[in-house]
């Protein structure tokens, strides 16, 4: 069965510092992987997705993620965090039935 693990519940970084949010998945076939961001009181916004091809995926707002099949990981990165990046981040995997399975999320706090 498919599952998504985000081992970090809460991360705090200083503005301007680099960021990496971890995501590990379990899925029998080639996964379709997503990262979403949810700002307080808002819906979900797609940051980036991986379906196939280049394993380094570029997204919006300066985010990127790298798919590593050998590690079953799809970690999200940003070289320099802005205060507006403070939000909840969700990794998700799509099953063959068009269902999205979400991780438990990582809450990002950005300090000045």
């Amino acid at each position: 069965a498919q599952s998504v693990t985000q081992p970090d519940i809460h991360i705090t970084v200083s503005e301007g510092a680099s960021l990496e949010l971890r995501c590990n998945y379990s899925y029998g076939a080639t996964p379709y992987l997503f990262w979403y961001v949810q700002s307080p009181g808002q819906g979900l916004q797609l940051l980036l997705k991986y379906f196939s091809g280049d394993t380094l995926v570029q997204g919006i707002k300066g985010f990127e993620a790298e798919f590593k099949r050998s590690q079953s990981s799809f970690n999200l990165r940003k070289p320099s965090v802005h205060w507006s990046d403070a939000a909840e981040y969700f990794c998700a995997v799509q099953s063959g039935a068009n269902n999205l399975f979400f991780g438990t999320g990582t809450r990002l706090t950005v300090i000045p």
Binding site: F34, Y36, G41, Q42, G43, L44, Q45, L46, K49, F51, F90, Q94, N98, N99, L100, F101, F102, G103, T104, G105
Partner: protein
């Protein structure tokens, strides 16, 4: 990508009552999804709604509690019936179109 209008954005309801949430999409889509996000939790798929057929519910969710309508390819409703405080959550609709999922901004429900 599709634009989703979801309403109400929030509501406070008395226990034992029902609330119907509406989701309107600006283009025709085959599949619509309803998710629940309990406080501090990730998103859990409630059901998949296809036009012209009964919704398909995930384990732990039943039609009597969460009846869904899908009268056409651009609209769906989710009703939360006989509410209890445990139903306090954010409810989101989602559509898949092409290579991506789009989410509504969510309905924040508080049951008192």
């Amino acid at each position: 990508s599709a634009v989703i209008s979801q309403k109400p954005s929030r509501d406070i309801c008395q226990r034992g009552t029902s609330l119907t949430i509406q989701c309107q999409v600006d283009s025709q889509v085959t599949m619509m999804f309803w998710y629940r996000q309990q406080p501090g939790q990730s998103l859990t798929l409630i059901a998949t709604a296809n036009q012209g057929s009964e919704a398909t519910y995930e384990s732990g969710f039943v039609i009597d509690k969460f009846p869904i309508s899908r009268p056409n390819l651009t609209f769906s409703t989710l009703t939360v019936s006989n509410m209890s405080p445990e139903d306090s959550s954010i409810y989101l609709c989602s559509v898949v179109q092409g290579a991506g999922y789009t989410f509504g901004s969510g309905t924040r429900l508080t049951v008192v």
